[in-house]
């Protein structure tokens, strides 16, 4: 059985994953903590915590709140910064064969270019995920992802500064995800991640104020899965680059739903908070399903649930 996928089929450097199960950015730190307990080589790829040019302390607490079948977070990009990532984390990744993808987030167009340039050619870094969809920062982030023209500017800026394969992580906060997906793909993105958290709010009635210190945050978990599924289906209908699904994937069956909607790979995020072994369990469940169903390659079921026109 071959579960491997290539996330950059149109690029000279391929981004080959031994299976389609990745960690989602911001939900497994930089993979190093989980690697102390589990075998990272069994995963398809690791995606780093959102990384910025300079280190950030992140937002005040409370940073997360539980909601029905979901959670809202506003961590605010607490991260060690790209230089520390290169010095301290990339050498660890270099010892692994599992591809490590760095999620990058800039406040400005220029910062995306600087981040891409800093990471280009760093041993241990297999690719980038360009975050134009974070709801938890005041500038940049989300607004780049809501406007196809701005999104294209970011893609071009990244492309100019790196030879690495890169994914572009889109926001669900648009009326229709297709125009931005199409524009980003045409501009040369190697793959799309669909999608990020959904901007949301929870109120603490006892304290008569927002549950999160930052007021708003991003909703994730099983609650968002049907929305992400629709967005993956729509995005996959307008692009011919791989679509990586992200949104409430808790099980192998959830992963299959996204694959049947057209996804090439899946990212496991919030599920890892509930069970640090979740990405590994999902690999096992996917493999078992393929064995039971006699499916030799995931290509055979990819997009199976799509309407044939």
């Amino acid at each position: 059985m071959d579960l491997s996928v290539n996330l950059a089929p149109h690029h000279k450097v391929e981004l080959r994953l031994r299976n389609p199960v990745m960690t989602g950015s911001g939900t497994s730190s930089n993979g190093v903590e989980l690697a102390k307990h589990y075998d990272v080589e069994q995963l398809g790829a690791l995606v780093s915590k959102g990384t910025t040019l300079r280190p950030r302390r992140g937002n005040p607490t409370p940073r997360t709140v539980e909601t029905p079948a979901g959670m809202i977070n506003s961590i605010g990009f607490q991260n060690i910064g790209v230089n520390a990532l290169i010095q301290q984390v990339a050498p660890i990744w270099e010892q692994w064969t599992v591809p490590a993808i760095v999620n990058i987030m800039g406040d400005t167009l220029e910062e995306y270019g600087l981040l891409a340039a800093r990471l280009d050619g760093i041993p241990g870094v297999a690719g980038l995920e360009v975050n134009i969809s974070c709801p938890n920062v005041e500038v940049g982030g989300l607004e780049f992802g809501q406007d196809p023209e701005l999104a294209v500017d970011v893609v071009r800026e990244v492309a100019r500064n790196t030879s690495l394969p890169y994914l572009v992580k889109l926001t669900p906060s648009v009326a229709d995800i297709r125009p931005v997906a199409e524009a980003v793909a045409l501009a040369g993105a190697h793959a799309l991640t669909v999608s990020n958290t959904i901007p949301a709010l929870a109120i603490d009635v006892k304290r008569r104020r927002p549950a999160l210190a930052n007021v708003f945050g991003g909703l994730s978990g099983p609650a968002v899965k049907p929305i992400a599924l629709r967005n993956v289906y729509l995005a996959a209908s307008v692009v011919d680059i791989p679509v990586v699904a992200s949104g409430g994937i808790m099980s192998g069956e959830d992963a299959l739903e996204f694959i049947m909607a057209g996804a090439t790979a899946v990212q496991v995020g919030t599920a890892t908070f509930l069970d640090p072994e979740a990405p590994w369990r999902i690999v096992r469940e996917l493999t078992a399903w393929c064995e039971t169903e006699g499916v030799a390659r995931l290509d055979d079921v990819r997009g199976a649930a799509r309407r044939r026109d």
Partner: protein, 257 residues
Amino acid sequence: MRSFDAEVVDTDRLYGSTHILWFRPRPLMDRARPGQFAMAYCGEGADPLLGRAMSVHRLREGRDGREFSFLFDVTGRGTEWLSRRRAGDSVRLVGPLGRGFEPRARVQRMLLVGGGIGVAPLVWLADELAAEGREVTLVLGGRGEPQIFPPHLLPPAVEVVVTTEDGSLGERGRVTAPFERLLPWCDQAFACGPDPMFEALYRVARDSGLRKPVQGLLEARMACGVGICYSCAVFPRRGGVKLVCTDGPMFDLRDLY
């Protein structure tokens, strides 16, 4: 750091609205130390979604080995679900997690201070320290008598001082008064309770000029408990950011305030 199902062997409303859950022995939990915790996943399926961080309250010898327990108040959907577990039910746990208390090896006089449900991890610490033949004084504070852990459930060697805000049991007032009184006596102090209590204890310890080490076991809202969600950040006064789940939950109070 593994996910496993733990079977409930015994459950009780121990005092006031505080419950205890005893679990059948699990080899993983044999490695736990006082002050460490586990994430407890409540409910069936994905709602409620996240685990509840529960410090290990106490151990006892059961039929099949060392049983462990959680002590908790019902404060929401998760703990309400936990309070309804009965013998034979199981609860999914991830643990043991975090950095627990670190008693110094060759010191004798140990002062423990628990505010409200913060007593939970201190009971196990008191059990261990008393069994090692050290002198232990445990200060228990609460709003009133219903919030005070029953002293008769502690080892006889442990000296207990009770404070209640309404004066219904022990001294009227807060734990800071006996803490200040006992600080010169002790070699090392340990505390668990709400954040304002830690800050008050830190001030007393600092102003005493005695330079006594005080280890605080922090409580924070966590989504994962294992250092990957970054929910439980604390911002030490001197700068930087720490995670309660993996850098703590035990911190020397001087490193925070």
